[in-house]
Amino acid sequence: MNNNRSATSIEYLKSIAKKPFLVDEEAVSSAYASSSKEQQTMVIKALTIFGALLTCVFGIGFLFLIGIYDYPLFMIGLGILLIIIPSYLTTQVHETFLDTFLLSLYCTGYGLLAFGMSQAQIDIKVILICLLVVATFTLIYLNNYVIALIATLIIYGCIEFLLKEFDLYQLFPFFYNGIAILTLFILTKEAKIISYSKHLAKIYEPLKIASIVFYIYKLNGWSTFNLRTFQVLEIDSYSFNIFSYSITLVVTIGLFFYLITKILQQLTITNRKQKAIIYSAALIVLLPSTIQPNIPGALLLILSCFYINYKTGIALGILSFLYFITRFYYDMEVTLLFKSIILMLTGFLFLLVYYLTSKNLSAHEKS
């Protein structure tokens, strides 16, 4: 059955190819064989991660109890060993059930490295840079799905904490807008990335989901943004200013128009008048939601994941959109009456758009 599958796929690709290409058919067959052997359900994957994390917690707990705190150099050494050895083993061994074991050692390694360095009184900036370097090496040299996911999240997190530690608050708007642009690039330029190199093709999936998760995390930072005072009411945070707000606005609207252009291409809508209507409708719908930039950000995520038909991303986008809207209305310091009027007006706006476009859209459905 898998041979059929690969044959039809290769045939299809050959039929639409603009230039001839070579396929290593044996490698393709063996890739199919190994992927069907490792057919894991969500249940087993979840069990793997749960078991790995639980064991990691017990392991570190035990080491702390027997007083490894007093031997920071030993912790650092053990941490490095626990990162390198399982990483090497994942390239040699391809049994999925060993992944749990190796993964828990890998996570324990990171924990020990970080704790050991902090016990050795090393400056936190150096710790973050070390973790960043280790994670980058892991990302470059390893192909394992879960390790690539964890490494990407560690890299993003380290950059964020480094910016905070070096007091480079002015760079923050560039950082989270950069994350937005990077995430959208990863989502829409799938063909470019997987054809660039075999390694990138293998870590594309974990890279995608790690970027989406971190993007949602950065969007959440806007949750308590108040447009009047440009303050963010969170404990350990910094205030936004008009500069960061305007940059975010420009980037978000820019990314939206880029996405709409791609979608219009996909829907083969070339009529100028229709295009103009859609662009202006998008602008009208977007404008009120820019009071808090994370709402159009979540909308961007939903639309782009829907465009590339990535169901997990769509679900995450919808959940975060609902969460941000709920927090927006919950935190607003206006009367219930005012909130109810805004909500009803927004509802009317969407229903109006629905009635205006439903004829058009149904025509597309029938054809």
Partner: protein
Amino acid sequence: MEEIQRKDIHIISRHSDIDESTLQDALQHKIYTSKNDWSRFLKLLFISLGLGFLITGIIFFFAYNWDDLHKFLKLGIIQLLIISGVLCIVISKANTTIKNIVLTATSALVGALFAVFGQIYQTGANAYDFFLGWTVFITVWTIVGYYAPLWLLYSILLNTTLYYYMDQVASNWSDTTSSLLFLALNSFLLISFTLLGRIKSELTLPNWYLNSLAIAITGFSTLTITSLYDTQSIPYTLLCLLVVSTIYLLGVLQAIATKKVTYIALMAVSIILIAIYYIFRIMNDEMAIFFITIFSIAAFTGVIKLLLNLQQKWTNE
């Protein structure tokens, strides 16, 4: 011919030198969402956002004016909504799914009605009575409607009623008894639904609901067995062990019959957690954590290997 999936394009591109534009075309034509799906999605998006915002706005409006409403008006509005919901279900010609959604919403409104009644007439903060009343009054609707989300609401209400009963009425029962009763309640539901599903296939409920029950059951069974450590009575310990073993045995039989690993995975996690708890309580020192770490790694690795083998055997049959 099977439809090409993303996985196919990824595997082939890894082992060939296909250029980017061919891959882009393949992705756009075969994987990315088509025009049809876009129009359905946009229509659904606009109408759900529109209705959602509108209804929330109306609810907020009532909330703002709530204190100024006369008490008959408050009760009257909710009763009107419930009556119109029921009329809609009985009379209208909409499809079954919409009717089921309206039934679920109406069942939730019954709870709102009782809550508002308690708030107006200050009947005292008796949560047990409230949940018991709510549960009793939607029993007939739940059984007749037989709709999974409504059964979920009903199951949550049953558990909450039991919780408040033990909290406010029978507060001297031990932890073991509480867990055992919760276990009995949820197992009764799961076993009944499974048997009903086997007898009449129209009566099967979706997996997400049955798995939620299964998760609750494994949680409560873990709590029951771990709380046995502090129990003194031997016959009671034997009873609990017997109940849990029977339930787990039934779970294994059902897993074999349906060829799904979910139940086995849940029971394995439960047994591992119970073992970890007992190792910790019996040894009670730092070396216990060491043994627990080793045991945890070995146990999880073993269980995952077992599950993978089972799954492979079952998908190949």
